[in-house]
Amino acid sequence: MLARYERNLNALSESEVDALASRTVAVVGCGGLGGYLLEYLGRLGVGSLIAADGDFFEESNLNRQILSDAINIGDNKAEAAKKRMALVNPLVAFRALPLRIDAENGPDLLRGADLIMDAVDGIPSRFALQETAEILGIPLVHGAVAGWYGQVTSVFPGDRTLDEVYGRNSGAEGRDRGIEARLGNFSFGPAAVAALQTAEAVKVLLGRGERLRRRLLVVDLLENDFEILDLRRPTAPGKEETAFTKRTLAPN
């Protein structure tokens, strides 16, 4: 065991640490959530990371985006992520994609990933990721944040949980942006949600603990409300977690 990963024990077993080192995780969006996700996944020891973002740092990102600093304003976010990981954990095989992922380019660009982390801004890009994960047959760990509020869920192939999360099925017309358009985001909201999203990703990768499949963890940091919503329709018998998880994602 490398000294770098010693303190992962014994919350994770040695074989689990090794399993994470053999996994590839794609983080799409390297802003508020994505910056923390890459930090957490890279330090933890996920062996291979893909980071995608077509945007460039602006001054207004500095209040919350851990990858932004006073001197890299104007730099591409995915490239900045790669530079940081070279300092934080050079053992990580890191691929930076300085472009916007959509439903057309996603399956090719993210092929080889075991899991996708949804850290994009706005709602249409999230559906593109759900589509991409569906095509690749891999899980998507969704996170979103707005001011004091955040949410996390795992979307497995076939689930299309984001259809429920954003009201496509409820009869609501929906919006392209959520309440973050008015509330903004501050430093600790993305950090808190990214931590919960990372815990979920590790459990999905290792097939361990309770996972948020077809359930949404909703976090209200203002009122200290943490709720898990059941997103299955009462009439449709919920498909139980299939052998998919164990076959594809259990530790080697």
């Binding site: 979103a144 949410q151 409820s170 009869g171 929906g174 959520g178 919503l229 059941d230």
Partner: protein
């Protein structure tokens, strides 16, 4: 019938967390949203008695309707 409506995040502003509404027996979640001045575009997640619901679902006396606005920031 009496319906309990639970609101979350920004939907609480000016309305409160939980309301008891008297409604006629045909009222749907869509009608309740209209009464509370909630734009259906702000209804991202709708739960009826804790399970996934639809705006035009039929309701029964004592039902609990929970409404969450869309959160989409990254």
């Amino acid at each position: 019938m009496t319906i309990t409506v639970r609101l979350f995040a920004t939907l609480r502003e000016g309305r409160g967390k939980e309301l008891e509404l008297e409604a006629n027996n045909e009222a749907t979640p869509r009608d309740l949203a209209a009464r509370l001045g909630i734009d259906v575009k702000d209804v991202a997640i709708l739960l009826v008695n804790g399970r996934d619901g639809r705006l035009d679902d039929a309701l029964a006396d004592g039902d609990r309707v929970s409404v969450f606005p869309p959160v989409g920031g990254g």
